[in-house]
Symmetry: C2
Subunit: 338 residues, 2 copies
């Protein structure tokens, strides 16, 4: 698909899981997109950025807090995509101000997660809503993209440990009875959707839900059991137990808002609560919450199914490792501590 006009896209946080998925998809359409990676000085030496440069991505080494310099870089840019984590929320707010000052045509804030009500369910979501509210105060054109829960974070390990090396962040506990519907996506597929969404006038100032498949924890665990021939022991988390633990964690996190490990420990539990127990993360709830459905917008985009994803992992054809070599990422920081 060729666009009428080539789009100039700048990405912050390009080296993360979501950022790389998006960059890979954009690089697949060199006639459609010019890509700029916004790189913080402390990240400039990472090999991943040198690799991106050789693949045709322009690097801009820039302090995100330097709004004047950032504005200069973003002038003439059509689209800014933020893949910053919430550890860099101050940088994301600065990126919004610079995008506004530069007259950027569309800002994609760093959502890229589950669908859930805006506030009162998931602390990280509330922080993202604050980011979106900043866009709205400036009338900065935006598109929110959520992608459901990652397949890469949805697989249980098996008793033989044969999948341990391929699953870096395993799913360890079943929410409710395991039959709660939830939308999951292969991280590799995120970029394919994003490349379509950001070039589409219909998605301007809208939310879009771009996911692979609606499934349940029971279905995913059964798929792994079938593919491996192993029986995976179950541990269950009830709504009541989840709520009681979240209450405790909120008290700890509330006492010191700068205590990031506590915030992210709470967040991982809140994630399981919203998609695995409340069941927020579905296309039906997305429709209620005002999202457009990417499956209806782009029926030709082919996504990996859970069945194929599990087969590929079990056959060793690919891995579900995420957050590797990212010692600064909260999920890695918390590994084994949640």
């Amino acid at each position: 698909m060729a666009l009428e006009k080539k789009l100039k896209i700048a990405i912050g946080g390009a080296s993360g899981e979501t950022g790389m998925s998006i960059i890979n998809a954009l690089l697949d359409s060199p006639d459609n997109f010019d890509i700029i990676a916004l790189v913080r000085p402390e990240s400039a030496s990472k090999p991943v950025y040198q690799d991106l440069a050789t693949r045709g991505v322009s690097l801009e080494i820039i302090k995100f807090s330097d709004i004047e310099a950032m504005t200069s870089i973003l002038t003439g840019v059509d689209i800014v995509i933020s893949c910053l984590t919430l550890l860099q929320v101050a940088e994301e707010h600065a990126l919004i101000d610079a995008s506004h000052a530069a007259g950027v045509g569309r800002f994609v804030p760093s959502f890229f997660a589950v669908v859930c009500p805006p506030r009162g369910v998931l602390t990280l979501r509330s922080m993202k809503e604050d980011v979106l509210d900043r866009c709205k105060r400036l009338y900065l054109p935006y598109t929110v993209i959520d992608v459901g829960w990652w397949m890469q974070l949805s697989l249980p390990q098996v008793p033989s440990k044969r999948l341990d090396a391929q699953i870096s962040v395993p799913d360890t506990i079943i929410g409710a009875d395991g039959n709660v519907p939830t939308a999951v996506t292969d991280v590799s597929d995120i970029g394919k959707y994003v490349a379509r969404i950001v070039a589409d006038p219909k998605t301007l100032n809208k939310h879009v839900f771009a996911y692979g498949e609606v499934t349940t924890q029971n279905k995913i665990w059964a798929a792994v059991e079938e593919a491996t021939g192993e029986t995976i022991p179950r541990t269950y988390l009830s709504k009541e137990d989840a709520e009681a633990t979240m209450l405790q964690l909120k008290e700890v996190a509330g006492k010191n808002p700068a205590d990031m490990p506590s915030l992210f420990k709470l967040s991982m539990l809140e994630y399981k609560y919203t998609w695995g127990i409340r069941g927020d993360n579905t296309p039906e709830h997305a429709a209620y919450l005002g999202y457009l459905d990417a499956k209806l917008l782009y029926p030709d985009v082919e996504c990996k199914s859970v069945g194929v994803f599990v087969s590929e992992i079990v056959e060793g054809a690919r891995s579900a490792t995420v957050y590797k070599n990212r010692d600064d990422h909260p999920v890695t920081m918390l590994q084994g501590k949640v």
Copy 2:
């Protein structure tokens, strides 16, 4: 226009300005609507409710905090409309829980004001967003209706004082240079729109902007001058002065969140700031913020123009008095104190 099915509508806060506008419009279509007024015990003796009863409105005397009793009353009700003020925000939250428990088909929260970004501009708006967020956590079907600024609050008094009795809450200060576009609505017209919106499946889980006319303060003041032949002295409020005063008022209000007079003093200034200085309250900004436009949805609804409204006031054919006999209303409480 006859609906296929008669709708059962319950209204909280029916005796207020917005509530009465809505009730009057619903009573104009007795074949379409059965109307229940939800009346707090302390308001039951008001003559206005006895009057509504004689006009065919069913009264339900009920403590809004009694969710079980409220649920019972709302069972079988199609639509709940809240016209509660933010002094009754706890009651509105209870009304949402009861509406959810009763399976109400549509909840209209008490917005009915200017269009502006959800958070960080207008404190009262943020409180309304909290109300909406509660609906969303419950997936309660909703429609947000905003109506712009009231014409009744937009008229300046004239030096001869001949309009003083007809204008109970005059406009006293010009925001910026007076040329900021803003949408205004005759309170009497609100109900005509609401009767259409709540019966329309297209507006379910949406925001709708239902306004009379886009104008400016300069145009309104000039219309009053032309109709009276008087020259009205101007006082101007700059963006910088408004922001400095809001900062001071926020400090006071922040020290004691229960200090309602301070909150509402801040709010009146924030209102002028958003519609008269920032210029948020326009159809273009509403479109960006995701609102449907009632003028496009219902082009046959005829609204009062500013010109006709001013003529009627000056000729004595009607008054622009609002909040009369409402000693409990914040605007009345603050009269002369802002």
